[in-house]
Symmetry: C2
Subunit: 274 residues, 2 copies
């Protein structure tokens, strides 16, 4: 085991799932937690999510590995706090769904940014907070890591070890590439889910909708404050993909109006070339 | 039991699920089937989906209740065939995802359109054909029926009985209301699923996407020929909802560019008034 103590900062759905999963595996690892809300920290300890609660954010700097699992807007402040207290060998990672801004903050704020390895577990649901925690949340999931040319290889290995310990597979890619792909793969579906629900509020239906509706709108139950924040942090790529989608829908509308079934079918799903 | 013999015309996912479900319940009911493809009819009989296979489409007119479960484009021809052979007391229903056009065809073609009761089970998946059949497909589902002021009450009762026998709940509404609601609840999610997949073909990703992507694109596996047909049959309402969605996405894009988190959050999900 490359480290003996780990601090989870932010005990929401992702942070608490990391704790639960590590505890479930019975590793010889001291897992401490800290949440801005003391009652959340206490409940997490009572539920066995963490072994103990750190008395302050600064105290988390004692751990060998720190996992930042706060909402993105809290990250700069956390990094500033740690910048004053970190030991040079401490490794940091995060779990935010945007990677370029977090990397930029780490590089600007931390005295040893080469020991920060950005991360994003491709897991989680529309539910949030401690009650959403699941010990098997990362089982079989991909977990993007965004080391740079300057990243300390030992720090990277420790974070990869953590990811594998949680049952996930580390996928290394550049922060910008991650943000571009996720604008399409996650931000666009979230925008559409929120938008479909808004349309339904404007045009209330007697019927409930079947599985296509439920699946397309499930993530509209996500926290809108978190998503407003994420969308703004990844606004360039999100705007690019939204613009491309709107052009596509506009063409679909034209084909509907033209009324040619064959062109419409080819547009919906081009035949794959063998 | 209000009838003793039932013919299922079209043994795809929905037609075959009706057969399987009725057989599973062991009702004293002769269930015959017919499919344009003889090998599908034979396989359906071999798999116990139907008791027997009708030798021709016209022969299905012998049944007391006929369920039309073909793709929509085949319905006018089926109705024309039956118009020549139906007994006056025979009841007909269908399962198409558009209701106004089917009702118009029935009224134009059938000698006794008052014994046609349009229907649409809110069930089914992106899979199609006989292999997609499931005996429990309709369990707990809603099943829209669109009787008119002229519908024979006995015919309506028989179709309602069938729906309840399959474990579903009949929901009575006007055909046009159905089509308007379904343009939003099902046609829009299908358009978006096909469109997201098209965007991904244009911008291939290294990553696979998590559950929000999988859920938003699942129905893009649906048959594009069927969906081109359905979208054109319901083009007016689909175009209206698509246009409203595009206006909404355009506003979202403006808010992204303006960069105000609070307005964006309120737009994503307006606070519900208590």
């Amino acid at each position: 085991m490359p480290f003996r103590s780990l601090a989870i900062v932010g005990l929401g759905g992702i942070g608490a799932s990391i704790g639960l999963s590590l505890k479930r595996r019975g590793l010889n690892l001291q897992v401490g937690g800290y949440d801005l809300l003391p009652q959340v920290s206490e409940l997490a300890q009572a539920q066995g999510v963490v072994d103990f609660v750190y008395p302050s954010l600064a105290a988390c700097a004692d751990a060998e590995l720190i996992v930042l699992a706060t909402p993105p807007h809290a990250l700069p402040q956390c990094l500033q706090e740690f910048a004053l207290h970190l030991k040079p060998e401490t490794v940091l990672t995060d779990v935010a769904s945007v990677k370029s801004p977090v990397l930029a903050w780490a590089q600007a704020i931390l005295p040893h940014p080469q020991r920060f390895v950005g991360g994003h577990p491709i897991a989680g649901t529309e539910r949030s907070g401690l009650p959403a925690a699941r010990a098997d949340l990362f089982e079989g999931a991909s977990w993007v890591l965004t080391p740079t040319a300057h990243t300390d290889p030992t720090a990277q290995q420790q974070v990869e070890w953590l990811v594998r310990s949680l049952g996930a597979t580390p996928i290394l890619m550049e922060a910008e590439q991650h943000d571009k792909e996720f604008a399409l793969l996650s931000f666009l579906p979230h925008c559409l889910a929120f938008s479909l629900k808004s349309l339904q509020r404007q045009h209330p239906t007697l019927l409930q909708g079947g599985s296509s509706w439920r699946d397309a709108t499930r993530v509209a139950e996500s926290d809108p404050a978190l998503w407003a924040e994420l969308l703004l942090l990844n606004r360039q790529f999100t705007a690019e993909h939204l613009t491309a989608l709107m052009a596509h829908l506009n063409r679909l509308l034209q084909l509907l109006e033209a009324g040619d079934a064959e062109s419409l079918q080819a547009f919906l799903k081009p035949r794959e070339r063998q």
